[in-house]
Structures are given as C-alpha cells and as structure tokens.
Symmetry: C2
Subunit: 464 residues, 2 copies
Amino acid sequence: MNSFLKYQNEQNISLFTDFYELTMCASYFDHKKFEPATFDLFIRRLPPNRGYLMFAGLEQALQYLSNVKFTEEHLRYLKTQGFSQPFLDYLRDFKFTGDVWAAPEGTVAFPCEPLIRVTAPIIEAQLAETFLLNTVNLQTMIATKAARVVNAARGKAVIEFGLRREHGIDAGMKVARCSYIAGCQGTSNVLAGLAYGIPVFGTMAHSFIMSYENEIDAFRAFAKTFPANSTLLIDTYEDMAGAEKAAVVAKELEKTGHRLSGVRLDSGDLAETSKKVRKLLDQQGLSYVRIFASGDLDEFEIENLQKQGARIDAFGVGTKLGTSADKPYVDVIYKLCETMTADSTYAPMMKLSEGKVTLPGRKQVYRFKDAQGKFKKDVIALADEKVDGEPLMGKVMEKGKVTYDFPSLSQIRAAASENLSLLPDKYKKVTGAAEYPVELSQNLEKMMENLKRKLLKNEISESS
Amino acid sequence: MNSFLKYQNEQNISLFTDFYELTMCASYFDHKKFEPATFDLFIRRLPPNRGYLMFAGLEQALQYLSNVKFTEEHLRYLKTQGFSQPFLDYLRDFKFTGDVWAAPEGTVAFPCEPLIRVTAPIIEAQLAETFLLNTVNLQTMIATKAARVVNAARGKAVIEFGLRREHGIDAGMKVARCSYIAGCQGTSNVLAGLAYGIPVFGTMAHSFIMSYENEIDAFRAFAKTFPANSTLLIDTYEDMAGAEKAAVVAKELEKTGHRLSGVRLDSGDLAETSKKVRKLLDQQGLSYVRIFASGDLDEFEIENLQKQGARIDAFGVGTKLGTSADKPYVDVIYKLCETMTADSTYAPMMKLSEGKVTLPGRKQVYRFKDAQGKFKKDVIALADEKVDGEPLMGKVMEKGKVTYDFPSLSQIRAAASENLSLLPDKYKKVTGAAEYPVELSQNLEKMMENLKRKLLKNEISESS
C-alpha cells in the first residue's frame, strides 16, 4: 500500500489531467499540428446570489505551467494506455513554451471575462486545460464565497474553520489561502499557518469540556495553560450557566494579571444568546471579553444575525465556506478562441451552441471607473484594440518563462481588499445583487457577426 | 515562492489539523491528562435523498495514525504560536499508540453507527480528530454519491469525469478512488490511473473539433490515431449532422478492419437525441457503436433519462458527482464516548445538547439479515454485549500498529458491490428512499437513561 500522497507532488503534476487531453494531444502530434492556438479561461456565469467573482489560483497555475514534465514512470504507464512510441518520445522532452496573460489574483471579475489567456502550440495549450480549470475553480469559488462572508460580517473578524469538511489535503490548504486573500483574519489549519504564514486560531471542543468532571474545571485548566489567550466554549451544557462560569474564571484570571480573551457560542439562537451573554459579561465589568460565534454559519446567516442585532465580535465560519456549500463549483471553462491556419494567419474561433456561445479572438478586459473612482463598467475588447479604461490582464509568462513578479500573499490580500472597496455596494449584496455592466467592444461584436455568418454557412453547406 | 505542494506530504500530515486540537492537547499535557479516552467517528444524519451511506476513507485514516509525527520545523513553528517548551518536547517524541476498531471500506452504513472507534491516551485520540474527519467526510460523501449514480444507471457504465471541478489535487485522487469503489467503471484522472490502477477513459473536447476546418476532418484525424478505440464527440455544431459524419468515419474504419467505439453527446435533450442517433447508426449497420452521454449528469438526471427510454450505453458523470454538488459534505463527527476516571474505571460520556445527543460507551454495530440474506436491521450495542447479528467493526490497529490486512482496491470494490446488492431496493431509491431500521440495544438504552439522569442532576446542582 502506497501512501495516498505518494503521487501528489510536482513531479507527477503532468498526469493530473483528464485522459482526453492526452488523446487529443496524441492526435495533434500524429497530424503534426504544432501551430499556436489561444485558449481563454473564463467563468460562464455567476453562481446563485453572487454579483461578482474574486479571481484566485494564478500562482498555482503558473507553477504548473513551469513544472509540467513527464517522467519515465509516466511514459511507461502511458504506453500501457495505447499511446504510440513517437508520441511518448515527444512527451519525454515536453515543456510548456507558450505565452500567458492573466489578471492578478484578488481581481474582481465578471462572467465571460478572460482571466487567463494561453497562447502556445496547441498540444501544450490543450494539455494545460484540466489543471488550470481545477485550480481556478476551487480558488476562485472560495475567494468569492469568502469575500461575501467577510462583507456580511461588516468589519467583524471572520476566521476560516472548515478544515474537517474541506475536500482533502490540497483543498484544506487552498481554502485557507483563498479565504485569507478575500479578507478572513486567519484559519484553523495549522499547516496553512506554517506554509503560508496565515494567522491560525482555535479555541476548544466540547470533548475538552466533557473530559472534565465539571465545566468550570475545564475552563480553569485551559485558562491555566493559556492565561493570555483563552476563548472558552460555553454551550456544552447550557449557555448562560457556561457564561457565568466563564465570568468566574475571567475574574480569577484578572487576579493573575491576565484577561480572558473571549467566550464561544456554537449552537442555539446565536443572536439572542449573544445579547444575554454580552449583558452578563458587561454587568461583571468584563466588557473586554469578546464573543465568538460559530456553528453552521455562512454569509446568509451572518447577515441575519447582524439584522437581529447580535452582539458577536468574531465569526468562525466552517463547512459552508470551505465547501462553498450552496454552490460547490463555478462554471469555469477553457475555450479555444484562436488558431493559426495553414497559411500562418490567425483565425478567430467561436462556439455557437445554444447558451454556450464563446467570444472569439485574443482579448483584453478594460475596466472603467466613475467620477468617485469606483468601478463603473467593463469592456471586453480585442487585444490589439485601442480602448480607454484600465486593462485587467498583464503578461505573466513569455515563451514558457514566468515574467511576473509574484506578489506576496499579503500583497494579494491588500489588492483584493482595495478592489472590493472600489466595487459599489449594490453588486456586493448577499442576495439580490445588481448586475454589473460588461460590454463587448464594437470590433469584437463585428468579428462575432462575421464569424457567425461564416460558421452557419459552413454548417449548412457541410450538412446538406 | 514555494511549490503549493511543498507541505502536502506524509511528513507534514501532523500539522494538517485544527489549531484547537493542539491547544486542547497542550492543556491536557499541562494537567497530566494521559488517561485513555474513546472517540466514535460517525455521521449524524443522512444527506438529503440518501437512504444509506457507503463508508470510505479507512486506509488513509490508518496511514495518518501510523505516520503522525512532528519535525523540528513543526516544533519551531509551534513555538512561535505560544506552546510551552515541555509540550513541544512531548510532541517531539509523539506517536499514536492507541487501539482502533473500524468498519471496512465499502460498508453500507447508517446514521449514528460508529465507523471508526479510537481508544488512546486522550491527547493522541484528540489530535487525530481533524484528519480523520477530513478524509472520511470526502471519501464517504463521494462513495455514497457515486453508489447512487451507479444504481441509477442500472447496469450501464458510469465513468467519473469531474477532475476539472473537484476541489484540488487530493480531492481529484480520492474522488477517483471512491467512485471506483462504489462501482464506477473508471475515471478521466490519469494520475489516479497510475496511482491506483483504476481504468482511465476519455474522448475529445469541442476544441479538438474546432481546431479543424471541418468536423469530419477532426473525426478522421482522431480515428486515424486511435483506430481501435475512438469515441467521437458529435454535438459541436449539430448532433445529427455530427452523427452522420461519425457514421461515415465508422464505415471508413470498417474498411481498415476496425470498429468505431462510440459517439458522445454532451448537450441538448440527451434522451431524444440518443434515440435519433441510435436509429441512424442502426440503419447504417452500426449497432455496435455505443452512445456515450455527458453534460451536467447526476443520479437524478440519469434516472430521468432512463425513464424517457434514452438509448445511452454509458454515462460520463463529472462535476455533480465529483463535488457531491447537491450536498458537498456529510455530517461526520468525532465524539468522546468514554473516559477513564481518576480511579482507573471507565466512564461513559454523552452529549445532551438538543438535536446533538451522542451515544455513550464503547460500542459495536450488529447487522441482521432476513430469510433471503438481505440486510434487515442494525443494532447499535455496547462492545461487551452479546448480540446476534454480524458485527460491522473489527480491530484494525493495536497499540499504534496496524493489525489489519488491507484489502486491495478491487477487493474493496467487490465488497461494496456485494453490500449494495444485499441492501433492499427501497433504501436505494434516488428519491423517497425508505428509512433503514437502526435500533439501540437495551443495555445501551439503559446506560443512556442513567447518564442522562446523572448529567441533569450535575447540571442543576452546578448551575444553581
């Protein structure tokens, strides 16, 4: 029995792909199709209730493109799957040699806007599809969800607490990363603390309380170990009785020159209980003790609690954030938008299928601001068009080499925060968000009209 | 910038934990609480529409328990997080020394039935919580979902196709594994093919078709590369026109002594189109060409298609399986059920919170069969009780050493298949499944009554 993590490393990332990427590549190879093609990675539509997306996942996408290679073990395995020796020999020397443009992580984005644009020999560009989608799907989904949760918390701290129900190891790490990017104060995931320097937080479980004969013994034991930093879980038996005992322990701590950090509520009517607990603590001169709440929270529930005037200072948000439970994926796709024809001219491509129309050609997104400097509208245009507004994508890779100065996680987080502050509130509502205007440039529209006409003509003549 | 996978290996698995596990352990250490405690891992309730659970994740859980240890890098990091030197010294020599009982992977299980039971010094047992929950949550959720999808397909092949939207690397691997355990024929994930020996499948994307001037050129190119094994995607422009061209290519293949494997539909009205495509193929003597369908499928949609008499031979099921989209988590929890008191006697523990009552004591689950050998009911009993019926859990670890002869993936898959066949159909319905009877033994009920009385008495006297 191998360790389940044995193959989960950089060296094997090339095989972390759908089998069809390899069969298509084998056929391209067979037919000597090495011309460059351009693919757009974008999200077709917003998940329910979301008024915007927060793009994340670029750093891992570029790591993949920089590292993708095939080992002898891979080639032996692929041989058993029916690939020809010439193709396997080609894979032995495979590396990604293309150009990539992308929006920075932390960018506020909207449907159909290219987030990553890959131009490379079609085999190289095609092979990257699965990994790029996988990493952008998870990270953009979580950053978007976390941004909504943080927004609903209106300045109160949000801690990402979902590790136990996130989908495996890599998800646990990426959820912590993207939640932090989107404004969470930290995570419960200790390994993410080590790997990314994200602040880690945690209190205690009900089992800790239960392992002592009396609740107050558990409180005292914990406060003795962490006198400067204890948050006591008060709902194991009965909230208010728990709060009273926490107050006793807080007074005991004061005598040793320490202050109880907080109490945690994890069940019941959090709005009502938090008000009662606040009153009890305040009456005892413990207004500095913070109330931390957790238990089945998400942006909808937090908004609810705020409306009810809950006296909660910080939210621990777990499963529903860490799995984006109301919509555990985004409609991220990777579509061919340009190929090179036999006579070496670029040919824009588009898909016409109902509800699945794609935008042809190499594109850029331009953002326009209003007089107050807030985001006003975006225009998707052809890359070589002259358009006012701020371009969202920059070059991040040239001929297979990263040309991008990777921002630190703090820098990404700061950029995300600024972007969110420039997005008007009506697009950030937890429910009923307004639709942000995204227009197509005249040249892009014209290209689409021409292509549609040509494709329909082709299709009719071909089928008849 | 580190590789995003740098810390995702066995050596660092100990820190893949919620911070509170470590703070609780530090306080236990501080107070010399080294007595054994027993925790049950179980699922509190069934996700919507599910009538049963398929347990998976044991192999990874035991790998974790066998490997958990702390490196110097971990200890240095934990020191910065406020842990005391004596506790860090304790962690330096930490290993798991407990006993574990568990049900085999592929077991059909029901709410509140212990699936893994850990008895160990409380620090060791507590520390394991996050990882065990994380791995059982994902894998049991996916095995359960996949079993439903396979059941809805009624003997037609199901391939797991969700890699691009699964939550990161580890999820991609575990989803492939658990889908296969639950009866899928294979996966699109090539790395899972290499790592686990799971059959891999794939066809082609729309981009492959679009990269050729004409659809039929793309078909011919692919069939030339894979003459013995081509499935042609026929819906890029128009299904029936695509089917006609596929038939032309099939006839061309016949002349070279080969047979077209199949055609794939990925959009539109799959039931109607599959019937028309089947008729067209049959009329051309191509009854051997299989129809493969994909696109937003899950157990509900597959049942729908079957009801409409769709002529589909195999289903590619992606995002909705790979993320368990209708419910992307299970309510798996890990609860203290027994501690040792100061006088070295075992004390059963239970939680009384409304809707969150837990079952006290060390337990076993017994399964009863009817006269036809089908599953009839389960009884949760105390471990030392004498109960008829087949015990579900066996000992898998003793004093920290695995005592379990790990079954191969094929063996787990065969056991899962047999278990599912023994579960009466009424519990396997896609919607409206009946509730399987799970009873508590008399001794367990008696223990709960006594404990409730004691706890309530304690609580009243404590609070007053």
